[in-house]
Amino acid sequence: MNNLDDLLAQRAAIAAQPMPVPDALMARILADAARVQPRPQPFAARAPAPAKLTFWQAMSDVFGGAGVLAGLATAACAGIYLGAVQPAALTSVTLALAGSSAVDQLDFMPSIDSLLAEE
């Protein structure tokens, strides 16, 4: 129907002109935009450089704390002491506990020779 097409064409010509947007509406739209606009993330402030550690603080950190470091130092001193003084008294203690010197002859790790000899 040409009449309908003519009317629609007139409507289209009117619609092709940009519809004026009221200032108040545009202001509301831009206020919404500003309210929900993602904010750029600022760079995180750089953490302050750690204070320089002393030698003992560094050693303490390496070994897991001052207590552990003290224990290690004690064990090291005890080892040096025992190696230096050769405590003969310990021999008598082990003999008393084992009952004889046969303790020394126990072989918990037999050599392969005994296995080969059985063939």
Binding site: M1, N3, L4, L7, L8, A9, Q10, R11, A12, I14, A15, A16, Q17, P18, M19, P20, V21, P22, L25, M26, R28, I29, L30, D32, A33, A34, V36, Q37, P38, R39, P40
Partner: protein, 195 residues
Amino acid sequence: MAKDLQNFAEDAALLTAYANGDPDAARDLAQRIVPRILGYATRILGDRAEAEDIAQEVMLRLWRAAPTWRAGEAQVSTWAYRVAVNLCTDRLRAKKRRRSDALDDVAEPEDGRMAAVDGMIEADRHAALTRALADLPDRQRQAVVLRHIEGLANPEIAAILQVGVEAVESLIARGKRALTAALAARRTELGYEEA
């Protein structure tokens, strides 16, 4: 067509700039999108205040979608039209539920710019067209308005209405038949010569 593609790319670029914090991008994009959405909603609803609400809501949803917008998946203007169509449909359904006498509630056509139409007869004809459009089923009215008044292509209308192109063609054809019949019934009153 090339101009359309350029416009689509510019819309997408502005939306990306907005999402990245550009304070001027929102104004530029709103100036491109809002007049079209406002015009469409005014033509569909026949109520300028409601159309402004629709335009504001469409833009708010667009701003919220900006951070997750995937360029290339949808065109900004098509997306905005689709939201506007859905919002207008909701409004029309709510109005239909509320009113008991539809004829008394048909709004004035257009937005005052119809005053540019010369003569009483032409004004009557456009009023009759507006009435006939208002009486169409929602989908037919949307398809006819998008095609013949907004001037969109059928594939874009299909994307907006989320149906196939053939369905769009069918909606438009049925809508135009109904409009033709409505105007034909008032042929003499509208000053058309008898065929």
